[in-house]
């Protein structure tokens, strides 16, 4: 047996905030528990049958005021806790712009990660200390859940949809990665490690990884082969937006919404173009759902992302 631990490692900004909230809750609920247990014990001892303590009617204020008092008190406490918890969550809701994006694909029973430069890993994630990292996650089969206790973070990973999660690691070290959503036979073995490194070490590490394929290059070829360029090329006769620089930009949509063109948006634009129509354009783009598979989709998106630098901002 390994030595007794009572508190998990704390290795992200959000982990520290959650620990605060958790400690607060421990103190408050500990106090309530002591109050209830103490009252039970004292009352049981004092009013055991035949004891000398006076009995008789309850004073009126106990019947009414006390009841109203503790109802109101618990309600206020509940609202306060809601506010505290909600505020803690809101502070961490949106990833900062420029966060490092890593792709996570889950399948029974492994995790696959891919870094922006094409480096890939299985059941492992490396992250630089102090920098925001954003995970774009999807599953190839059932629902899994990406859980790093040291970061106090967990996010279900769904098939057919992207979920995301971000963190800023604060302490170099190796931490456990678990699958937290039951996903079949080897659910318990679907784990790995998250390694937090100093930024320089991380940069070196990433650069040294073998880059198996040139996703953006292959994406560029697909862009022509699938006929995207027929509409989207700058010289095209069709009225369609030029895609250079679209990635990461705020896009105004025909229905009045403004959204950031992140990865999920690009995917949606290709698979369900009618959903987010860019303002000023006709919804003529056909859906490519069923025509491109997941791998091709990743290549196309990688290509569009690579166009980021070429546009004047």
């Amino acid at each position: 047996m390994s030595p007794l631990t009572l508190w998990p490692a704390t290795a992200s900004e959000q982990a520290a905030r959650i620990d605060m909230l958790f400690t607060g809750l421990l103190v408050i609920s500990g106090a309530i528990l002591l109050l209830v247990a103490g009252l039970l014990l004292v009352l049981c001892a004092r009013y055991r049958r035949g004891s000398a303590a006076p009995r008789g009617d309850l004073p009126d204020f106990i019947r009414r005021d006390v009841e109203i008092g503790w109802t109101a008190a618990t309600l206020f406490l509940a609202l306060f806790l809601f506010w505290w918890a909600g505020a803690t969550q809101l502070r961490a809701s949106d990833p900062p712009a420029g966060a490092l994006e890593v792709h996570v694909v889950a399948k029974q029973w492994m995790w696959k990660t891919r870094y922006p430069n094409g480096a890939r890993e299985i059941n492992a994630l490396h992250a630089p200390r102090g920098e925001a990292m954003r995970l774009m996650m999807t599953s190839q089969d059932v629902i899994h859940s990406f859980f790093v206790p040291a970061f106090r973070l967990k996010q279900d990973v769904l098939p057919g949809r992207f979920t995301e999660m971000w963190f800023r690691a604060t302490k170099p070290g190796e931490y456990r990665l678990f699958c937290a959503e039951f996903c079949g036979t080897d659910h318990a073995r679907m784990g790995g490690t998250v390694t937090v490194m100093e930024p320089e070490d991380f940069a070196r590490w990433v650069a040294a990884q073998p880059q198996e394929e040139d996703l953006p290059g292959e994406g560029a070829a697909l862009f022509t082969a699938l006929g995207c360029s027929g509409c989207h090329a700058a010289a095209s006769a069709v009225h369609a937006p030029v895609l250079a620089g679209v990635y990461g930009r705020m896009v105004h949509l025909a229905d009045g919404r403004t959204v950031r063109a992140d990865e999920a948006y690009l995917r949606d634009s290709i698979l369900q173009p009618k959903r987010d129509v860019v303002v000023g354009y006709e919804p003529i783009m056909p859906s490519f759902d069923g025509l491109v598979d997941e791998a091709d989709l990743q290549r196309l998106v990688a290509y569009l992302q690579s166009l980021r630098g070429e546009a004047a901002r």
Partner: protein, 560 residues
Amino acid sequence: MSGITAERAIPGAPPREPSYLTAKTGLASWLLTTDHKRIALLYMAAITVFFFVGGAGAVAIRIELFTPQADLLSADAYNRAFTFHGVIMVWFFLIPSIPNILGNFLLPLMIGAKDLAFPRLNLASWYIFMAAGGLAVYTLLSGGVDTGWTFYTPLTTAFSNGNVLAAAAAVFVSGFSTIATAVNFIATVHLQRAPGLTWFRLPLFVWAIYATSIVMVLATPVLAMVLALIFAERAFGIPIFDPLRGGDPILFQHLFWFYSHPAVYIMVLPSFGVISELVTCYARRRVFGYNFMVYAILWISLVGFLVWGHHMFVSGQSLFASLAFSLLSFIVAVPSAIKVFNWTATLYRGQIVFDAPMIYALGFIGLFTIGGLTGLFLASVPVDIHVTDTYFVVAHFHYIMVGGAVSALYGGLAFWWPKITGRLYPEGWARFAAIMMFFGFGFTFFPMFIMGYLGMPRRYHVYPEEFQVWHVLASAGAVILAFAYLLPMGFFAWSLIWGRRAPANPWGATGLEWQTSSPPPEENFHTPPVVEQGPYNYHPEHAGPPALEREQHQPQGRQP
């Protein structure tokens, strides 16, 4: 030995008229009975069997988790064990336990009725339950299911190779039994109350069963729908949850938790009722804040329908939705707190007697308080993100449903045992079992909070070594807990033959059920009672209970 009973030793056996137990004999008189009391006993037999079956799953789990490696069970066998444990315990033990055993037996007695409103429906409900139970056992024998009791899609519909259809069918069918019983209870409370028994004179147990029945009737159809959809997708390939064909796996979770959160209240509200009866009787006090207690039950049943999204904070649901569900979950905690405070305050200026049922009740209040307080942690979005799907959640719901509901079931069984069987249970043994249950429970489940926060995910048969300490504690505690559950079965059975005969009202309790003989005659009351006052008249209105004099309590009803 007992604190309350002075009049226990009745000289000589009183002349006994035929009770519901002896009025008719033969197997057919039991299997075709429409007497709510006998049907309650049929349920008791069936539910006890399921408690053993589900308990066997728990035993397998706790043995396997004693070490970090897989030693007793393979991965698949373990997955089947916890799935089976969950399915049986939720639908075949916890949900039917108090309502169908104690509720069935007591509801008509407590409101001075001859029987439930629809006696034959009551029997039909038992047969439906048995059919469902048969399907559940068939599921086990045909290889079991490996989806978890939550049946999450698309695992359930497209990937599991267990016998999902049989399991879904078992749960689906059991739902009809639940609904039939609930409708019966609702109708009974509306139509069969004794003259003078107005709504605000009802014992809190009746209120609790009534509210539970309403939740059952409203929630169970949603479970039936979602199980039917699973059936449609898995058996006929109709894509509803499969995202590759335009379905939505999250839709399943919404429907499932729309049922399953209220189901938590189906499991725990009846125990609130039991505890209110026990605490008042053994503190010899009117319940503190009767009206608040009633409103709290109704408030819980209503708001309980609006909080299902707190099971889905990490599912990808929008943050806005999560915050709304978080707020509602905090609000639903308030009435539960009121109940705890009011039970505690009921002790104030009482004449408290520590008989076994009271020890169960006090244990219930303690464990339920811990369960409820940890609910606040889970209602907080950021904390829940960390601890959901870990042992923290496992600990939390076992505190509510096992520490709470099962303690109340045992306490209630002991309390009403003389009424049901006409025999007194051995008080000393019962106190010992009650205390053992409290500590065994704490040893088993408290360590789970700690390992949950440390990050131990649920549904793992192998786990990192650092969690072993806590698993060993839990498994050791489970041994104590198992004995605490088995012991009463032993002495209850013993009392059937060797127990002393019980008088009509051994505890000096006020409810109508105590004003008929123990066990009651077939028609419950020879002359139907008339009610002129509220429940729990353990002492005159503007005084307290006097020491040692039991005669001060006033029965709620009177024979006209």
